[in-house]
Amino acid sequence: MRASLPITIASAALLAAMPLAAAELSPAVVFDMGGKFDKSFNEGVWNGIERFKTETGVKYREFEVTNETQREQALRRMAQRGADPVLGIGFAQAPALEKVAKEFPETRFAIIDMVVDLPNVQSIVFKEHEGSFLVGALAAATSKTGKVGFIGGMDIPLIRRFACGYVQGVKHGNAKAEVLQNMTGTTPAAWNNPTKGGELARSQFDRGADIVYAAAGGTGVGVMQAAKDAGKLAIGVDSNQNHIHPGTILTSMLKRVDVAAYNVFKTAMDGTWKPGIQVLGLAEDGVGWALDGNNDKLVDAGTRAMMDSLRADIIAGKIKVHDYMSNNSCEG
């Protein structure tokens, strides 16, 4: 008994030291349906926090939601285990995050794509309509048939915002152009159904479209494959998807979720983290369009200049892009 006393003291000291080490920073992220390798929205977040991990050496906890009932559990488990900040990805996590954030008022939470109005929550939303307007204008300038398509994931106001901005961009480029629109489904399964996405894309090609814009998470993989098979063009979303099929992806509407996710962790580490709402648009480089070695042959110099001036006009307020979510309608 006497011999074990020093060991007891040592282990007690070790235990006492543990919370200190943990207090450093233990961020956590809860991905949404579609999974962290959806090559799009969730993968963008993953890229951002991986960058944070390599730069700072701080590890993070993660969870991939594969079933709607897991969101609340996952967020609560993270908070219970002392994770801080806890980052929820996607609009659908808002109700769960709101509930859990109230239970853990000391823990910092952040959510991307939705607003949760609580003193310990940072909400990051994007002006997807502005970025979609730009790629719409590019589609109108590139289309030979005067018909372009849009394929959304789940039919929700957020995706309608993408569609609405895109339509405005297309009409700005070519007032006579026609935009065919499809939504993949009305349940979260619509984010991960490439077969359906491919079939929707083919149906739009059959009706004369030659460029489709997919704002559909993992479903977009099928859309881009169908575009490649049919020899047409596709526009990617969220992450830079130009590399998936070089020469087929006209551009990608960038939504810098990677930067947003990185900043949540980074500011929490620096102590500059603030609750409240952040709205990221063209002016903040929160959205944009992708031009790289995989698609520079598809966009000529004149078109590039046009895109630059459009971007400047939107930032300056000379072009007003209507936001679907401001009145739940694409008119106004």
Partner: protein, 324 residues
């Protein structure tokens, strides 16, 4: 007019593409169930085969090796199902559901372990997929009105597996109704005691039936991941195995009516895609939700109103125990 005709033909073309996995799975289920073994596991077999096809096609660089792997996977899962419910008289429904759950998890787990892309397989190149086959004379007939369009869009230009699915229907019909094996297969599903009394092994007959089912479901899986799409994605079967099962019951466990049911489901799906967001004269734009519910609503209406009684094979679901 021409444009509308072309759109109609293209809708039928899409019907074939969408119905292909349904047809293959319905035929698989039909063979198995006619021998008295319920096959809920079509979904799981198709999913496992889709993963095997995409993974092996990627590694080997050949869609044919992928197809072989898919067929073997389907057959292997059938053996698991058979071992549980033919050899050990287990519940066929429970065993089938077990296969479905197993495959839903195992494909993703293996995918993460092997390819580290979150359970997806890497995208397949042109040479690793089943590409559309252009029939001879497509170009020559281009100018012929109606027939040229039909030939070019509807008959020609599908990948090989679509034709395999269409050929499977008469083959299954012939096998079931015109061969000795088929007669015995049907008998074992209706009255296994009689077959046993005649000195024929019930278990061996049923094993052959589930193996054939596994083979067909395997082809369906390969179609999903190496022909229709270019990669395996988590849970990519999206319930098509169950829809095929419904189509088979809808077709009263007979090949040709089952084909009709599969084509109907495929057509409704293709039509739903095309009706979305289109303003119909006098009606206006139809809500997405309604369009997407349409195939299911029609199924219920057709099942309740027009089908009449569906009589399942008599011995279905009952393990055969030899009398002591």
């Amino acid at each position: 007019m021409d444009e509308h005709f072309l759109l109609a033909v293209l809708t039928l073309d899409a019907t074939l593409r969408v119905a292909t996995p349904l047809i293959l799975c319905a035929m698989a289920g039909l063979i198995s169930e006619r021998s008295g073994i319920i096959d809920i596991s079509l979904e799981g077999k198709m999913l496992g085969a889709a993963f095997a096809a995409a993974a092996v096609a990627h590694v080997s660089g050949s869609e044919w090796v992928g197809l072989l792997a898919a067929v073997l996977t389907g057959a292997m899962l059938s053996l698991v199902h058979g071992f549980a419910c033919i050899t050990h008289n287990g519940s066929q429904v429970v065993s089938g559901v077990a296969v479905n759950i197993l495959m839903s998890g195992l494909t993703v787990t293996l995918g993460i372990a092997w390819f580290a892309q979150g359970g997806q397989t890497p995208g397949l190149g042109e040479a690793e997929r089943f590409r559309p086959l252009l029939w001879p004379g497509t170009e020559a007939l281009r100018e012929v009105p109606v027939l040229g369009t039909l030939y070019r869009e509807l008959l020609s230009g599908h990948n090989l597996l679509v034709y395999v699915a269409l050929a499977a229907v008469p083959l299954v019909w012939w096998g079931l109704y015109r061969t000795r094996f088929g007669l015995r297969l049907r008998a074992v599903g209706e009255n296994p005691e009689a077959v046993d009394t005649a000195g024929i092994s019930v278990a061996w007959l049923r094993y052959r039936a589930v193996l054939l089912a596994g083979l067909l479901a395997g082809i369906a899986g390969a179609y999903l991941s190496t022909a229709q799409n270019g990669a395996f994605v988590r849970d990519m079967t999206a319930g098509q195995g169950y829809i095929a099962l419904a189509a088979m019951i809808f077709g009263k466990w007979r090949p040709v009516p089952a084909l009709g049911a599969c084509l109907l489901f495929g057509f409704l799906d293709a039509l739903a895609v095309r009706l979305q967001g289109v303003a119909l004269p006098g009606v206006g734009e139809i809500p997405v939700q309604f369009i997407q519910a349409l195939p299911y609503v029609l199924t219920v209406v057709l099942l309740a109103g027009f089908m009449g009684r569906a009589v399942a094979p008599k011995a279905i679901g009952i393990p055969y125990v030899k009398e002591r």
